[in-house]
Every structure is written in C-alpha cells, then in structure tokens.
Chain length 256, copies 2
Amino acid sequence: MKALYILKIGGELLQDPAALREVLRAFAAISGPKILVHGGGREVTDLSRKLGVEPQIVDGRRITDAFQLDLALMLYAGKINTQLVASLQGLGLNCAGFNGSDLNLIQCKKREAAALDYGFVGDITQINVEAFTLLLNQGICPVLCSITHDANGQLLNTNADTIATEVAQALGAQYAVSLDLLMGPSGIMIDLSDEHSLIEKLSLERYEQLLAEGVLSDGILPKLHNAFSALKKGVKRVRVGNKSLIQHQKGTEICL
Amino acid sequence: MKALYILKIGGELLQDPAALREVLRAFAAISGPKILVHGGGREVTDLSRKLGVEPQIVDGRRITDAFQLDLALMLYAGKINTQLVASLQGLGLNCAGFNGSDLNLIQCKKREAAALDYGFVGDITQINVEAFTLLLNQGICPVLCSITHDANGQLLNTNADTIATEVAQALGAQYAVSLDLLMGPSGIMIDLSDEHSLIEKLSLERYEQLLAEGVLSDGILPKLHNAFSALKKGVKRVRVGNKSLIQHQKGTEICL
C-alpha cells in the first residue's frame, strides 16, 4: 500500500513566520503523496474587531453568521491558503489550494440549530476520494483550508482538525496514511511546564486513565478524540506535537 | 481541434447577484471544456476604506502595496472565487478555484518600478499549458481569479482581462478558443445611450477608424487591445459585451 502523509497546521504556527517557514521547508522535502490542511488562528477575530464587530463566542465556540463566514472565506481560503501555496511553490512543491467546494472535495451538512445555532458551520457528510486520488496520482499536493460546502451553493466553516482526520480516514482504504496534527505544545505532557513529562506513545488505555485523573487540558480533548477515531478507522499512524514532529520526529504518537 | 470556451466576468456583474446567477447558469450549461476568469470590482476599495485606508490611485491605476495585496487575496482569491465555485458546484459543474500560484498555472514578473511603482503587480511571463490541459482533460473547469505569483513565494495582482486573454492565447495552439470578455455595456456602440448603435462585428479597420475619430471611451481601449492581440495570436473568436453575450449571443464580435 502506498504511503500518504497528511499534515495539519494551526494558528500557533501560522502566527510564527519563522517556524512556519521551517515546517513548510520540511513538508516540501517529504517525498511521495501528501496533503497539507490548515486552520486559521486569531486572524478572523482580529479582522472582525478592526471592522467594528465583536465575534460571538458561546461556550468557547464561535458563532459563524454570514459576516463571520465572509471573513473566514477571506482569510482561510483567501490570504492564508494562497500564501501557503505560493510559499510551497517557491520551495518547488507542485501544489494547489482547495476548499471543500473545489471539485466537491468535501461535502457537508449545515449543523442544525439546536439549543444553540452555530450558524454556517458544516459537519462532513462526504469526502470525494476519487478527486483526491486523481490529484495525488498527478503528483499534486492539495493544500486544504477549513472551508467546505453543502453542494447547493452554500459555503460552510468546518474545523480543520476534523477535516484532516476525516480526509485521512477516507483515504485510509487506499493509502497507508500517516497523520500529524500540529499544535502549540510538543506533545501530550503530564506537566505542560516540563518537557521531560512528554508521553512518546499514548495508548488508549493510558489516555482513559489520564482522562479519569483529569490531567489533560480541555483544549486537547477534541484533538485526541479525532486521533483515536482515525486509528480505529484505519489510519496507520497518528501523532500530535509541534514543529519538532516534522523536523525531528519528536512528539506523541497515539496508539490503540 | 477541440473547442474551448473562456469567459471573463468583471465587477459590474459581480455586483449584480441576479444577473450573475443568470450568467453562471448559462455558463454551467455550456458543454465541453471551459474556463471562467473573474476580476474583483469595487470590493477592495470598499474594504480598504472600511479599514480606514484610502487606496492610492495614480493616473487611474491602483497602487498595490502589501496591504492592498492582502485585501486582493482576501477578496479575489478568498470571498469572490470561493462563492463562484460553490455556486457553480450547486449548478452541477465540476469546477475548482485557482490563482496563478496553484499548480504554477500563471507565472509573472513583478512590474519594475519606473516613474511610478505599481507595487505588487505582475506581468505574465509563463502560462502552464500542461497543467491547464490536465485539468480540462479531467473534465475540470478552472475558475481563475486575478492573482498570480512570481514562483519565488510572492503573490501578485494581475489584470483579469489580461489573464483571460493570455490564457486564451496560450491554449490557442491546442484548442479552438472562443473568448468572451464581459463588461457593462452590451458591446461596442457608437453612442452608449443608443442600443441600436451596437456594432455587431468590429473589424481592425473599423476600430482604427473609430480610434481616429475619438469615438471610443478610454475604458474600452485596453479590452479591445487585448481582443485584437488574442485574434492575432490564434484565438478563434473574441467577443465583448454583457450578459446578453452568453444568454442571447448578442454583443460585438471582434474581427481582424
């Protein structure tokens, strides 16, 4: 089975140009099929405030109304995605930027308003494996932003970790997929202030134990949930960590 | 020789949602290989002003400093391009949004500062015919915004009419290319207030005559220059006009 490498980068890295440059250089140097997925960071909030609109955050989750969706399109699909592609092309990588509406790569359903209406947020219903395979077979590296669509003309905001994970799962039948989810810390640590407490391999058993002990911060839980889900659905390797993961193969590997 | 249809739409249409919808519907219904190229309209100026920055216009030409380039990325490659792609996907068209850095489709050289420094503006040096052909052969309709790159990591702003024309010329060796350049008026008219003065076929001879008579408005001259250049370089048919061109085949055909 052919190898496929999927790297997800987030806001921490996008706001650190020097570190980003290092990661893009390491990414471009990896041979074989690969996919880059990126989130957005704080730029949407910053631009919203500059335009005089305070974004609504409820229970730590952003409400994506029509205005916030426009800002997400502008920053995620516009500025950030194009700059990543141009940088990678500058490093000699044959890549192209996509969102879920391009080639109908990622189709979503707008999340139904329950107690809370998240607005234009999409939950993935379909990954176009054929289109991804076509791109990869042509030696094209897709650079995916966290925008999807409902296939009826509506664009939607979707979590970038979720996109990376679900694309990894969907392509797992055809490729031996390695998925690296980047974040601020260098991996899962018992004590975030002590690098020596880094867990090199986190098993499901140990994860459940740490969960019960309340050691893990809330912020890491969705990422770990995604990671275990990916492994259960056939992704070959999942790791979490920061730029050391791609530069020095140092971080936390998640294991069943 | 296989036919290829290239449609360029501009600000007038992008600011008229009902007319845009009609044009996209007509475009999606055209069978065979096709490419959509779009400009941006007044949105960059509007957003710049909302952010408290008055864009610099010298002799009618916009100066693209780093800030204005960011706005162009956000609006042309971000909001406008993604919404066009999502709308066309909603109409069942297999398309994907691209700028010149994607697949290195359109490579440019930053215009050298002479008496005036236009900033991050690119003049086209290379069209990646192979990549365009690959996309078209796969039944993918490229939706191109007016952003290019220098292949060294720098994104650049490039006129959308020029992109449409040069892509048409570059693909003219392999395809019988029809190029439609949309604008506000329904075609070239002797008297803009009189629809009956529409010139259905504008020959080079007649054009030079009208030029000498000073009948043509300054705004149309670059478009006509592009149109004649395209025909001379092997594009099969070039027309200028508004939505009537794609809906009713009514406008001005440019002829050598």
